[in-house]
């Protein structure tokens, strides 16, 4: 929960325009029941998936004695898969991979988005023009087309899958950061820091970027959800992370041939994906609500700001659907 501590610390630093928050994020989250419950459930799911294999020690890649498509039993709670591997251990290992892909892709796209967005906003001029045109260009390629071509080029190792997903989803974050950088750049406390002799990078890192954290957390959470869905979709097309390493996506793809004989092989990973994505979406929505001025209405808005709000909102909502 580093983020929340940071956020708390920073929030108390600059209280000029944003509403004061006396509570930490977790405290605030408690007021938003669905988000809070989602958050707890996500922690539970991550714990089960990452710690579960310590308890359930079956090898997710080894063939069992029971053979393929064995029924549910004490030996194999969810039976065995199409070639005779333990399904439970594959669900756990697959969950590790899938959730890690989601998190890693989010972090990666956050990094790319932050660098591009802040550079464009901070330096303006030619840098701005080039970077923001690039951002727009990327936004107008249907991102699945980009993912397909990207994976064709780079292959399907887990790292490449993360990379391609991240490279197709950083634009939103870049725009958020860009907006925030522009907004805070001219602020008094930033100018004060400049006057005090702080370097550009330091000003950016210490004074401007922290302002963007709340919105980035929202976008980031939703990016995780989107990344997990994307991983499963590219697996469906046979271009995702490949077996024997399980992911929920490739388990689902593998099970397709068996929908006639062992439908549970497909239903289990499908439901796992849906639940996790649902929880991340609910958490992201909750966080957004908490940031929404209407949720704790404080600010007055003029006509012009409404338009801006709509534009921003549009972008924000878009994220969900990625």
């Amino acid at each position: 929960m580093k983020d929340s501590q940071n956020a708390k610390k920073l929030d108390t630093q600059n209280t000029m325009d944003i509403p004061t928050r006396k509570e930490g994020w977790l405290q605030r989250l408690k007021h938003h029941r669905p988000a809070y419950v989602s958050f707890i459930l996500l922690i539970v799911i991550h714990a089960v998936v990452f710690l579960g294999p310590l308890v359930w020690r079956a090898d997710p890649e080894a063939l069992t004695m029971e053979g393929p498509q064995a029924a549910w039993s004490a030996m194999h709670p969810f039976g065995t898969d199409d070639i005779g591997r333990d399904v439970l251990s594959r669900l756990l290992k697959g969950g590790q991979v899938t959730l890690t892909v989601g998190l890693a892709a989010m972090l990666f796209s956050l990094t790319v988005g932050t660098i591009i967005g802040s550079a464009a906003g901070f330096f303006r001029g030619a840098v701005d023009a080039v970077l923001m045109r690039l951002t727009e260009a990327m936004m107008s390629i249907p991102n699945f087309f980009f993912v397909l071509v990207g994976l064709t080029v780079l292959g399907n190792t887990p790292f490449m899958v993360v990379l391609v997903i991240a490279l197709s989803s950083w634009m939103e974050i870049a725009r958020v950061i860009y907006g925030e950088t522009l907004k805070w750049k001219e602020h008094e406390f930033v100018e004060a820091a400049h006057a005090a002799g702080a370097s550009n990078l330091r000003v950016l890192a210490r004074h401007i970027l922290p302002q963007a954290i709340p919105s980035v957390v929202v976008v980031g959470t939703l990016t995780i959800a989107w990344s997990i869905l994307t991983e499963s979709a590219i697996s469906y097309l046979g271009m995702g992370i490949q077996p024997p390493m399980p992911t929920w996506g490739n388990m689902l793809q593998d099970a397709q041939q068996y929908i006639w004989t062992s439908p549970m092989l497909g239903i289990l990973p499908g439901i796992a994906i849906m639940i996790v994505v649902l929880l991340y979406n609910l958490l992201g929505d909750g966080l957004r609500d908490l940031l929404d001025p209407r949720y704790v209405p404080r600010r007055r808005r003029n006509a012009k700001r409404i338009t801006n709000f709509f534009k921003k909102k549009a972008q924000g909502v878009i994220n969900n659907v990625h």
Partner: protein
């Protein structure tokens, strides 16, 4: 004057944008390992592979090939498909109408249904209806599209036998038969756009409902429903226009999976075939056309938006 300058500058930006996209795509796809399907087949000889490499002009360096491609693309010639020898434009022309059909039907469904649900849940904010709608939008955002498609096929095609599982039925179907082929793909593709529209309309409507002019209208004694429908609605739907532009690339993305699941002969399947078969000119053609569609629709949306809301123009 102001207006035409706005349009000109947008046009210029769009051209630059399409250019950037073609550079990215061309170098990416040519970096991919492997080569055109005709060369990369198991049952052919090295001699034949070499001959085809020369015939297809793939012995030239990538930058040269890009220059050649760009040169003819500027004149409107997108080249010929490596796989079939047909003009790229023709291959796209065969498939594009199907994707457009799917996309437009999905947009219509999403806008109508999304508008109604969004407005109703804004009006009934906080009720079970609002929560129900909200829940379904989150669910829609969370379900893997292809999984939903397969489950629907299992239920409606295999178990119940109500709807055809694949294809368009266009070959010899009547209009009403064709509709049966459309239902499931449109439903599945809607999960990528409907939730967004519901949410967007809802928050836009809420925003408008809290505006002073609505409060004034209410205070002046008009019946609530009239207020809602005449004042709020119009103002709430204006910003909805802005989102449609953003939904177009999303629809095209979603079409890749939807078309694969339902055997729909559109652009999504074409791009998949093109990338896997390393049909370089076709990949480029598809990229140019889809980016073009996105750019043009964004452009139109911007113009429409600045027309209904002049404040935008001055930004």
């Amino acid at each position: 004057m102001n207006n035409s300058r706005f349009i000109l500058s947008r046009l210029w930006q769009s051209i630059i944008l399409v250019f950037i996209v073609t550079v990215i795509t061309f170098f990416l796809i040519n970096m991919a390992p492997g080569g055109p399907a005709s060369i990369m087949r198991m049952d052919t000889t090295q001699e034949a592979r070499d001959a085809l490499t020369v015939r297809l002009g793939l012995d030239k360096p990538v930058p040269v090939r890009y220059a050649l491609w760009l040169g003819s693309a500027i004149t409107g010639d997108l080249g010929e498909s490596l796989a079939t020898g047909q003009p790229v434009i023709q291959r796209i022309g065969e498939r594009l109408p199907y994707t457009i059909e799917l996309a437009i039907l999905t947009l219509i469904v999403s806008v109508l249904l999304g508008g109604v649900l969004g407005i109703l849940s804004a009006i009934r904010r906080g009720t079970w209806f609002d929560h129900g709608v909200n829940l379904f939008t989150v669910l829609g955002l969370s379900v893997p599209v292809f999984w939903l498609g397969i489950m629907l096929i299992l239920l409606f095609s295999v178990e119940l036998g109500w709807l055809p599982s694949s294809g368009t039925g266009k070959a010899n179907a009547t209009f009403f038969q064709h509709i049966r082929y459309v239902i499931m793909p449109v439903f599945v593709l809607s999960t990528t756009t409907l939730p967004t529209l519901v949410r967007f309309t809802r928050s836009s409507m809420l925003e408008v409902l809290s505006q002073s002019f609505v409060r004034t209208a209410r205070a002046s004694g008009l019946k609530e429903s009239v207020v809602v429908y005449w004042h709020a609605l119009r103002n709430a739907l204006i910003p909805v226009i802005s989102i449609i532009g953003v939904l177009i690339p999303r629809l095209l993305s979603g079409a890749v999976i939807t078309e694969a699941v339902f055997g729909w002969p559109g652009m999504g399947r074409l791009v998949l075939e093109a990338a896997q078969g390393r049909d370089y000119p076709l990949v480029m053609g598809v990229t140019v056309v889809t980016t073009g569609i996105v750019v043009v629709s964004n452009f139109l949306v911007d113009i429409a938006y600045s027309w209904v809301d002049p404040r935008i123009r001055n930004r």
